[in-house]
Amino acid sequence: MAALICEVVYRGIFQKNLAARIARGIVLSARKSGRWGIAFGRYGDSPQRNGIPAKDFAIVADTKEELEQNMARYEPKHTDVTIVLDDTLSKGVESWAWYGLQPINRLTVPGGTVLMTSLQPFESLLKDIHKKDVSYKLSLLRAKASFSGLWVHKEDHTEARVLGALAKIAPAFLTLDAVGQAIQEIEWGSDLKVASARKAFDRLETREVKITEGNAEIPYSFEMPKWWEMREGVTIPAIPIGKPKEGGQGYVPERNPYFKKFTTRTMRPVIDFDTCVKCNLCWISCPDSCFDVMPDATFDANMEACCGCGVCEAVCPVEHCITMVNESAFEDNASQWEMWRKDKAAYKTWLTGKIGDKATTVRSHGFRFRGQYDEELKRDLDQGGVEIVAGIPGENAQHKTI
């Protein structure tokens, strides 16, 4: 009786194709040793939205019966390997499905592995990853999160590298040779990608995570009502109107207590309240109405509601008043405005530190100008990264079916 159950946790839209390639790659690699498998996305996650955490699954088993045994449910309740394609997901995931915040390691079995693409040290990630009552392994594949714009797939070999790493984690199901063979045959494969998979296999960093380690926060959750408790007519109470703040000077709207949205964020706005000209543009433009009106008429971005889209940064007329900073640079969702009100000098130091770090202010996703993708790939190459070829890099031209 042997089966391998993997989940691939990814950022909606940006990594949709990447996750699908990995899930398919797992099944096709395992098929090399005659195993049966299935690859599927969590249906409730789609239609996706930019950045919303979503999941694909891959299950492989020795026999069809074992495969069925492990599939006889909507989605796996336990996974041997949890593959995480962006390290900011380590703060937990909340999908479209409205069931609260789930720790990234929630489904990982005792002794199982969380495989993550990250440039952060283990200790820094374990400040975000929730504590678990069993020990498991954390494996890091050294890579930036592979984001691209909309449906574009970024050919930076992440799918091949993840499969190579998986061969190290679960060699009983996917040998490195089988992975190489599958990559070679797959429509997006190439010799170069096989080499990338082998390098990832060699370079994977792994350590055990003890039950004492991790973020001690209890993720928010809620009970779903019984059929006779629900209001009839597919009707739900509206979100109540907000409360005036401090004697009517400011205004804070009420927000949905069941869907907080913040795990969609890979970057967050950092606001310089000293230079704000109170023009309202961020407040008007925010698609998620995440700005609270403060008593001094500045705007505080509520970090439980912000999806990190960056529209506020784009519309703000004051240079460096709103700056998007990578989510990994923050440990909580505390109010920036309250921090600023308490100690303006300390806030200035904090702000300068956050927006002055070039590594964390690089845009995490999307393209700002035509040709940015080519430039990024070339820069990666200059730093020892992937080789660029004419046309679509890495594509297996001979497998293009006509």
Partner: protein
């Protein structure tokens, strides 16, 4: 999340193996059937088929007219017309999209348009939900559409070929809807065998409309106005065509097995461990997966349980089902649909089987269950609970008139 349990077909040397979803498998079938006209209007989960066909056409693997309609009503109207001029056509929808096309769905059988449609089963609005319920496809159960449910991506591909063969048989000439559970089948990729075109050509003849072809060389008028002097005869014609479908379906499956060397012997339903079964559970579509796994687990504890997974719902295999179900001590029908205010407030399948069993010599107690609505997981615990209730009924020898809802929060 469906996979084939029936004996794993040994891949014939000329078949290629692909890892594809149920929707992609339908597109493979359509490519092999070399369809001429396809219309598209997106709705989940059906849209995955349209995406797969578009890719086939873009890659030059399929040459077909791909028409993007402005709604489901139009897309079914377009293929109806294309079919009357001799094109092999395909279209489909899901949930309320299928409902929006209802006027065109209604006229297709009397005009004897042998189109094939895919219904990616989806809950009806409201609430706007994507998950599977069978009520959408069941809208056409009384209209002269042939209607079947599939369970795996392999069955999706095979049934697409069989559906054209049956629908376009001149004895039938009725539209055929293939129902596929949203998500569980439409979006799950499993290992699937794709036969070569040369074999398909031996199985599926060209579409020949004969004297019904709308063409200047064959001047005809289709669908003139007709009132009480004519209508009942037209309905009787449809009735006869549907009756002839029984034979045509059996012939098609036999021929499928002859040409491809695989496929079920019983076209109408899959019987899983029913031979010695005390309790037989009945369901349609991918609900078979938790039921089969549950049956294997229960048999390990000595409970003799089996499954009848219904493939063809129209025409309804009355005789065959009565024969298969009469031998059980109790029957449990699990509907992934509802029929509010119906006899015993049961689901559609349960009441169809009650009607079918009415004249049977041996009528075991029949229990009705409603489960898995809106894509809710049907758990192994649900299967065990249904089986236990069936055992109680078998012991008392009485049918429980209550319909049991499984997996609802109460």
């Amino acid at each position: 999340m469906a996979v084939a349990t029936t004996a794993a077909p040994a891949a014939a040397a000329d078949e290629k193996e692909l890892l594809i979803s149920g929707s992609e498998a339908v597109a493979e079938g359509l490519t092999l059937a070399d369809i001429d006209v396809v219309t598209g209007y997106p709705i989940r989960p059906y849209d995955t088929v349209i995406q797969a066909i578009a890719k086939k056409i873009a890659n030059g693997q399929l040459v077909a007219e791909y028409i993007v309609a402005e709604g489901e009503h139009s897309q079914f109207e377009i293929v109806k017309h294309a079919s009357t001029v001799g094109a092999r056509v395909f279209c489909g929808s899901s949930g309320v999209g299928w409902a929006y096309a209802m006027e065109c769905l209604v006229v297709t059988p009397p005009l004897r348009v042998p189109m094939v449609a895919l219904v990616g089963n989806r809950a009806l609005d409201d609430p706007g939900a994507f998950g599977v319920e069978h009520n959408d496809a069941l809208f056409v159960r009384d209209l002269g559409w042939l209607l079947c449910w599939i369970d795996t991506s392999q069955e999706a591909l095979d049934t697409t070929l069989i559906a054209y063969r049956v629908a376009e048989d001149r004895r039938v000439f009725l539209p055929t809807a293939i129902s596929a559970d949203g998500a569980f089948l439409t979006h799950s990729q499993a290992i699937t065998l794709v036969p070569p075109k040369s074999k398909v050509d031996k199985f599926l003849p060209r579409y020949d409309r004969g004297d019904l072809l709308l063409h200047p060389d064959n001047p005809i008028t289709v669908a003139p106005q007709a009132n009480e002097d004519w209508v009942i005869e037209i309905r009787r014609q449809n009735d006869e065509a549907m009756k002839r479908a029984y034979t045509v379906i059996e012939e098609a499956y036999a021929d499928f097995r002859r040409v491809f060397g695989r496929g079920p012997e019983n076209p109408w339903f899959e019987e899983y461990m029913t031979e010695d079964a005390e309790i037989i559970l009945v369901g349609m579509g991918t609900i078979s997966l938790p039921i089969k796994v549950g049956i294997r687990n229960m048999r390990a504890q000595g409970k003799k349980v089996g499954l009848v997974r219904l493939r063809w719902f129209r025409p309804f295999p009355t005789e065959q089902l009565v024969k298969a179900l009469s031998k059980a001590s109790a029957i449990g029908v699990i509907d992934r649909d509802y029929s509010f205010g119906s006899p015993f407030a049961s689901g559609v399948v349960a009441n169809e089987i009650r009607a079918a069993m009415y004249n049977a010599e041996k009528r075991p107690p029949l229990l009705s269950f409603i489960s898995g609505l809106g894509g809710r997981e049907v758990t192994l615990e649900d299967v065990y609970k249904a089986t236990d209730l069936c055992y109680n009924a078998a012991k008392s020898g009485k049918s429980d008139v209550k319909t049991h809802w499984l997996g609802v929060r109460e």
